[in-house]
Symmetry: C2
Subunit: 112 residues, 2 copies
DNA sequence: GTCGACATGTGGATAGTCTACAGTTTCCTG
DNA sequence: CAGGAAACTGTAGACTATCCACATGTCGAC
């Protein structure tokens, strides 16, 4: 039991959030979390304890910005959206991820 | 700023070590580190402070075993080799890595 | 009015990397 | 043969990003 559960690959949450905002436009945190679970077909379960600290971190770095608004369900929420710096950062993160996977792939290709 | 330097993707060091030992047979820690840097074409720089704790961790989990020996350069070294459990674990780690990359890839495929 | 889903947050634990230091052995060079 | 470089093993402490568990508040439905 228990542990076929895949967790967010360490360090990729920023990437996933930025990409989600780029794809979907402004969203509130809860919605981002839902979207991430949905796209991953529930392979990833995203705790609140992960998403909000991450959003705060990204805001502090200037990659996303919040604007107050009202959700589809009429609740007051913070909408997060990509800044220009965030869009640039997304490119950086994608490149980093691709480098990382390429390196690991090179090991796995090696025949035993 | 400064760094385009790629670090070991968090959590993959075990995988890289196990795979290296599977591919190369018994090696000492220093050799494993060198091999990892070499295969990655120096994209990854593996600190001693990372490799030895990892080797100890893997030993404690029973995935690798040490035998004393002598290196090609005539120094007394510990040779590390895969145990049967380690070989099995390697399969687990590979599967986990592939799941993780597949999930992230699904996000990146999404057109902006 | 209260209950459940929506929504945002915080505190502490955990884990795996990093930097930086410390030490031994063998070979090479002057 | 002294001294240093390179091979080789290790430890301590910081840091970062995730996790789990808890706390708070809003709104619509019943």
């Amino acid at each position: 039991m228990a542990d076929d559960k895949t967790e967010i690959p360490y360090g990729t949450l920023d990437l996933l959030i930025l990409k989600t905002l780029e794809t979907m436009g402004p969203m509130h945190g809860y919605g981002v979390a839902r979207r991430i679970e949905q796209v991953s077909e529930n392979l990833l379960t995203l705790n609140q304890g992960s998403i909000y600290p991450a959003l705060i971190r990204l805001t502090q770095k200037g990659w996303i910005r919040t604007t107050p608004g009202v959700s589809e369900t009429k609740r007051k929420v913070k909408f997060y959206s990509l800044t220009r710096a965030g869009k640039k950062q997304l490119g950086v993160e994608i490149a980093r991820w691709e480098t990382a996977t390429a390196v690991v792939a090179r090991f796995l290709e090696t025949p035993s």
